[in-house]
Symmetry: C2
Subunit: 409 residues, 2 copies
């Protein structure tokens, strides 16, 4: 008998039929003798509907009230799920974040979990109940409803698994696991049976949006066994996220996958005087404007000047360009250039640590296809390049092929 | 400066536009220097939508889960209202029933309020905030979400007014007050400036569905000054519900209004042996089947038998007939008859206490129109008759005319 936390996303509970389908899956686990905690998102589309409603009322909705509003989405699904489970003859009880008492800080719309009271859930599980918890939400010290931000239900699932010391946290999504890359681009992309925690972090942050990055970090911190599965398929083991520090390199693939995203834009500041503090002079105002920066590169140019390039989310591109243009004179920059039509592509794999030549293979492959590399950034387990957006699919396919990712490890 | 509790029903918050309209009304009261607590229902149609969803999942939804589900309706409106108020530059804060801590018993779907913690609301009011509270809902000792049953938002409004010792509780609806009768039937029906608490109780229970009866009882118990107003009109004083024990009979009208309903059905058990306990033998099983009985009449018949007639809600008619038919042999009844096509009509007025002849005027008037009276029941301040449904409108018009209810007091 195991204690299993199962998290289902919005598409898995998008209709009464799908809710009943999930209830049947939970019932199977119960019949095998497991204790089950179910964490749910809002029905797909519901959170967006509520946010749109809020914006009709107030163009920039008050964060506290927005949290009170959108938290109703999950409250609806957990109540309906508890009913569906009871309809199958199971014992079940729904909990909002406040009812569990998932205590968070008071950073509305992006709160962080501080602690979880698990006694009531534990009692329910021991008395044979399925515990159904609203994901994405909590409550602060003052009793205000908070939400964890987009994708926060994954975090709730992992946090509950940690608090309850669960045997496994299963994240059910609309894909059946983590793939070597997006199968829509590379048809013979392969589902990975396992992926390391670090690889998953890189894959998640790079746009393979299977799992929320905070959830993966949380799982790593508390050593929660995490598995990604499809809620639309009844078979399949999904992908297990492992935490081995030293993988068996005999079996370990060098590269696990290729991640990419088209959500970024590039901004280059040319000919800034190369004095100490220049990076701060440029990025300080950007951070103050609450604009997240991803890749950053600085190169020495001619005449004691330096060129500075960074990427931001494409949505923030106009605002960032405007901001830097207003700073141009102060920075003493020669020119400020921007490009929205870029894509970031990364090869990820813990195996890279013990293999040389991965980067050069990657660069050579791209060069052979005449794909110009605009930026490069590396970590121990990944190499990222920024290229022209129009070459992205070609680059992914050719690299997937060159590194033979379609072949089982 | 006064402390005013304003309750708005579902049609008053049915859309973003209507929510903004209510916010503007609240702002006017704030600008006059009043402290305002706003109590809201769910957007009209939302509670029904959620109940329908629940029934799709579980034919008889679990009461605890149903409460968790439908309480989201008010949570949505209070959050949106707080945003709308903030958008007007006011300070505001929303509360769910659990956040106020409106403590109830644990009778899910029909809970009763036990106590209300008013410190936080009081603090908010003193710091200039508008307090926006979800009607209809509370929380039990164990933290389970409860609801007060249909129309429970009125009760929440009155209960908050009592707890905060408010100067007035204003109930905003889609009518601009309490009328002498339904203006759709009698076009010159008159809005009453005041109505006594007892009259209101009779009017409410008799189908003048302006206010929930529990709310009126609550207001009476705690001497809350209650006013019914229209949320669709910007002018108008509405109808004030008064609690004077001894009205000024010089000014007091004899009859305040004519109430009626078509929701009942009549069942007659003929020729039951007239022995002690016969009423219990008949009504005991009816009560056990959870069927509410309204009027009851017992008449001695011939041959030591008795005839027994009562009315039930029309929805319960088939079930009640079935139940009694199954009991016929055991009761030794000669015949069981039923009639769905009846209507109940009542004239209501505290002035009746000090006037004789009201009943006879009523009966004479109906007789002149050849309207047969099937049942009669009276209290100190009302006379109710059951008549054939098809004569209802005629009877209401003629009695409204005879008692000159269109004339101001």
């Amino acid at each position: 008998m195991a204690l299993i936390v199962q998290k289902y996303g919005g598409t898995s509970v998008a209709s009464v039929e799908r809710i009943k389908h999930v209830a049947e899956r939970v019932a199977k686990f119960k019949m095998l003798g497991h204790q089950v905690v179910v964490v749910l998102s809002a029905m797909s589309g519901e959170t967006n509907r509520l946010i749109a409603l809020a914006k009709e009322v107030q163009s920039e909705p008050d964060p506290r009230e927005l949290d009170a509003l959108i938290s109703t989405g999950e409250q609806v699904t957990v109540a309906l799920m508890a009913m569906a489970l009871k309809d199958l003859g199971l014992k079940a009880r729904s909990y909002t974040g406040a009812q569990v008492r998932i205590l968070t800080d008071n950073a509305h719309t992006k709160a962080r979990i501080v602690s979880i009271e698990e006694q009531n859930m534990r009692q329910d599980l021991e008395s044979g109940r399925v515990v159904v918890v609203a994901g994405f939400q909590g409550v602060d010290e003052q009793g205000n409803i908070t939400t964890l931000g987009r994708g926060g239900s994954d975090t709730t699932g992992v946090a509950l698994a940690a608090a309850l010391n669960a045997d496994e946290c299963q994240i059910y999504t609309d894909v059946d696991g983590v793939y070597t890359t997006d199968p829509r681009i590379v048809p013979n992309a392969r589902r990975l049976d396992t992926i390391t925690f670090e690889e998953m972090l890189e894959m998640a942050s790079l746009g393979s949006k299977v799992l929320q990055i905070r959830a993966v970090e949380f799982a790593g911190k508390y050593k929660v066994k995490l598995r990604v599965l499809s809620s639309f398929q009844d078979e399949g083991e999904g992908t297990l996220i492992t935490f081995e520090e030293e993988p068996n390199t005999m079996e370990q693939a060098i590269i696990s996958g290729i991640a990419f995203n088209r959500d970024e834009a590039k901004i280059t500041i040319l000919g800034v005087p190369d004095t100490p503090g220049v990076a701060y002079q440029i990025l300080g105002p950007v951070a103050e404007a609450n604009i997240d920066v991803d890749m950053i590169i600085q190169n020495t140019g001619a005449d004691n000047t330096t060129d500075f390039t960074f990427t931001v989310n494409r949505n923030e591109y106009p605002r960032t360009m405007q901001l830097l243009t207003s700073l141009q004179a102060k920075l003493g920059a020669k020119e400020i250039k921007g490009d929205k039509h870029i894509a970031k592509l990364s090869i990820v794999g813990v195996g890279m640590r013990s293999h040389v030549g991965i980067a050069s293979t990657m660069f050579k492959t791209l060069a052979q296809e005449n794909i110009n590399i605009q930026m490069i950034s590396t970590s121990e387990i990944k190499i990222s390049v920024v290229i022209d957006e129009k070459y992205l699919e070609l680059a992914v396919r050719i690299l997937h092929d060159v590194f033979e990712l379609e072949k089982p490890r």
